[in-house]
Amino acid sequence: MEVLQPTSWGEALAAKEEHPGAVPLAGGTDLLVELNFDRRRPETIIDLTRVAELNEWSHVNGGVRLGAGVDYTRVIAELASELPGLAIASRTVGSPQIRNRGTVGGNLGTSSPAGDALPPLVASGARIELAATSGTRVVPVEEFCIAPKRNVLAPDELIAAIHMPVATGPQQFSKIGTRNAMVIAVASFALTLDPPARSVGTGIGSAGPVPLRATEAERFLEGVLDEEGLWDSRGQLSEGAVARFGQLASEASRPIDDVRGSAAYRRHSLGVMAGRTLAWAWDEYRGTL
């Protein structure tokens, strides 16, 4: 096994072009465990942790351009007000040691439907910037993952950055696992409220082949908020509406039975988490938190 350690983005892209089979390495949360268990034996690894350009975030077109190599500890410390949903999810990743090294770009690269950072990206309509020596393209996060651990990256491409709109309202995230730390989610749910646009965004994790949106739940809640004038009145949401939202979110999932949990449990827990995150987010919007 060979480990290439480019120190600039140009060098990294050139290395990927020259070694299309090479596996990119960021925090190592997933890849190093696979190497330790001998589940994977790549001939070449490209260690991206020395590429300074990947470790930066900036404001671009009124949104945030998050370099693929920014670690979770920094997302929590530096972006909690602009990307609150992603920051909440980041706090649940692994443990401090893992958050010190793990990155949102790495989570995307692994493309596990259970990746903690992915539901908030889906809920907020993130766009993923992919680059190769030949140029750059941007794809919506929902089109990025195509199957468990598979994505649209071409062999010569690397993930450059994640583009996200700055939050205009409350965002929430919830996940269920067997231990508070260091677990892969059994199921997770992210919610984004966008009051100026009168829109609701959702993201479902670990309950389908890829992170999913609960589109019907979004449309239902938008309908209730509009019809009852709740965006303006900031009035109370009925229990029935919260329950229906949970039910629709649950129905949007496509879970399987596996070692971490049954499909039935995942469906049930998603309904509970969707209702809970909505209650938290709506309380925050009403100013009662």
Binding site: L32, N36, S95, P96, I98, R101
Partner: protein
């Protein structure tokens, strides 16, 4: 083989390593710093926690070549002039260990935790050490030890 150059506990080392070598095995087998334990190989247990450039990391999921140029601190680097570090002293005095296997990792994670947080509740400490497993103590005395050390480290005049 790859040549790497790194500083471990203040001492500069130049070494040849296989690219595949994990940092924890480099520390244990090439530098004979066996204080850092390997518990799980999957980053689940935290026994192998060290500091890389001042930040806690699990050395079982880091390649030695990734530490090229880095400042690494292991449990062996905490004591100075024969004096135990306040965390080592506190774990001893407050019975923060029983079998001791998790202790180096617990202490290294606590160094980062105390450095990055002001006054901590017991709950904060439990959250901060969420990536480290102990199968003996039930954690009560670990939390007590970290509280004791944090108090001592923040008011050095009183010690």
């Amino acid at each position: 083989m790859r040549r790497i150059s790194l500083t471990v506990n203040g001492v500069k080392h130049d070494a040849m390593v296989e690219p595949r070598q994990l940092l924890v095995y480099f520390l244990r087998e090439q530098l004979a710093l066996t204080g850092t334990n390997v518990g799980c190989d999957t980053s689940t247990c935290g026994a192998c926690t060290i500091l890389v450039n001042g930040k806690s990391a699990k050395s079982c999921t880091l390649l030695a070549v990734q530490a090229d140029g880095a400042e690494v601190t292991t449990i062996e680097g905490l004591a100075s002039n024969g004096e135990m570090h306040p965390l080592q002293k506190a774990f001893h005095e407050s019975h923060g260990l029983q079998c001791g296997y998790c202790t180096p990792g617990m202490i290294m994670a606590s160094v980062d935790l105390i450095a990055n947080n002001d006054a901590m509740s017991d709950e904060d400490i439990r959250m901060g050490l969420e990536g480290n497993l102990c199968r003996c103590t039930g954690y009560q005395n670990i939390v007590k030890s970290v509280q004791q050390a944090a108090g001592e480290m923040r008011s050095p005049a009183s010690t």
